[in-house]
C-alpha cells in the first residue's frame, strides 16, 4: 500500500480541477474538434488566398484572445492597486502569461500565413512590429514579477507595467488605421463583416474553440498562481516561526549563561 503524503487529505484530490473546470474542459475539447472540422474540412478554399485562408481560423482568434489576456492584466492591476487583495495580483499574472502564449501563437500563425499571401514570413509592418513589441512587453512584465524585489517596490512597479498593456493593445489594434500597412483592416468587428458564408461560420467556430480553451487555461492558471501564493505564504510563516524559535532559544541561553558561569556568592566568598 502506498502511503499518502502527510500534508494531503486522502479524500480531497490534490489538483487544480473542479466540476466547473471539467465541464468547461469538455466543452472546449468539443469546440476544438468542431473548429478543426470546420477549419480544415468543411470550409471551402478562398477564391484569392486558396487553402491558406484556413490559417485565419486560428490566427485571428489567438490574436483577439491575446488582447483579452492583456485587458484582464490591466484590469486586475488596477484592482490590485485599489483593493490590495492577492487574488487580483494572481489574476494579473495569469492574464499576462496567457496573453504571451496567445501573442506568440498569433505571431507564428500570422508569419506562416504571410509567406504564401505576402511572399514573406516577416516584414517591419506597423501591425507586426507593434505586436512583436507587445510580446516583448509581456515578457518584461512576467520577468519583473519573478524578480526577488522588496514587496513594497514590487507592489508599486509591477501593476504600473500591467496598466501599460491596454494602451499597447490599442496601438496594435489601431495600427492598420494609423499607418500604411500590408496587414488587412478589421473584417469582422464591424456590423457588416466583409467575410461571408462558410468562412464566417468557420471563423466564429474558431473563436468559440479558442475562447473556451482560453477560459479553461485562465481558470487553471489562476489556481496555480493562487497555490504559488499560498505556498510562499506558508514558507514565510515557517521561516518566521523558525526565526522566532531561534531568537527565543538564544535569549534563553544568554539568560541562563551568566547564572551558569558566574560563581555562587557564597562559594566566591568561601574560597
Amino acid at each position: 500500500m502506498t502511503a499518502n503524503p502527510p500534508d494531503v487529505t486522502p479524500d480531497i484530490p490534490a489538483h487544480t480541477g473542479s466540476r466547473a473546470s471539467r465541464i468547461l474542459g469538455v466543452a472546449a475539447l468539443a469546440a476544438i474538434v468542431l473548429a478543426t472540422l470546420y477549419g480544415l474540412v468543411w470550409s471551402p478554399a478562398d477564391v484569392e488566398m486558396g487553402d491558406s485562408v484556413r490559417l485565419m481560423y486560428v490566427h485571428v482568434p489567438t490574436a483577439v484572445f491575446c488582447y483579452v489576456g492583456c485587458f484582464i492584466t490591466t484590469l486586475a492591476s488596477g484592482m490590485w492597486l485599489w483593493k490590495r487583495t492577492p487574488g487580483w495580483d494572481v489574476l494579473a499574472g495569469a492574464g499576462a502569461e496567457l496573453g504571451l502564449v496567445f501573442v506568440l501563437l498569433a505571431l507564428a500563425t500570422g508569419s506562416l500565413w504571410g509567406r504564401p499571401t505576402w511572399g514573406t514570413y516577416w516584414t517591419w509592418d506597423a501591425r507586426l512590429t507593434s505586436t512583436a513589441l507587445l510580446a516583448v512587453l509581456l515578457v518584461g512584465y512576467l520577468a519583473l514579477r519573478r524578480l526577488d524585489l522588496d514587496p513594497t517596490v514590487r507592489s508599486a512597479r509591477v501593476p504600473v507595467l500591467g496598466l501599460l498593456l491596454v494602451p499597447n493593445v490599442v496601438i496594435v489594434s489601431r495600427s492598420v488605421e494609423w499607418w500604411r500597412s500590408l496587414h488587412q483592416r478589421a473584417t469582422v468587428t464591424t456590423l457588416d463583416p466583409q467575410i461571408d458564408g462558410d468562412l464566417l461560420v468557420a471563423l466564429m467556430t474558431g473563436f468559440l474553440a479558442v475562447g473556451l480553451a482560453f477560459a479553461w487555461l485562465l481558470l487553471h492558471r489562476f489556481r496555480v498562481g493562487w497555490l504559488e501564493y499560498q505556498a510562499q505564504r506558508i514558507d514565510l510563516d515557517e521561516a518566521v516561526a523558525a526565526r522566532r524559535a531561534e531568537a527565543a532559544r538564544r535569549t534563553g541561553a544568554s539568560a541562563a549563561a551568566p547564572a551558569a558561569t558566574s560563581p555562587e556568592p557564597a562559594e566566591a566568598v568561601g574560597s
Partner: protein, 51 residues
C-alpha cells in the same frame, strides 16, 4: 504527398500553423495541470477553495 511537396503548398503552411497551435496550447495545458498537482501537495486543502 511527400514532405517536400507538402512544404511547397499552402497545405504545408496550414499544417504548420494548426500544428504549432495544438502543440503550444496542449503543452501549456499539460504544464499547468502538472504544476497544479505539484503545488497542491504543498498547500492544505482549506487553502484550495475549489476542492
Amino acid at each position: 504527398m511527400s514532405a517536400a511537396t507538402l512544404a511547397m503548398t499552402h497545405a504545408g503552411y496550414v499544417a504548420a500553423g494548426w500544428g504549432a497551435t495544438f502543440l503550444l496550447v496542449g503543452g501549456y495545458a499539460v504544464s499547468l495541470v502538472l504544476r497544479g498537482r505539484k503545488l497542491s501537495r504543498q498547500v492544505p486543502p482549506e487553502d484550495r477553495r475549489w476542492s
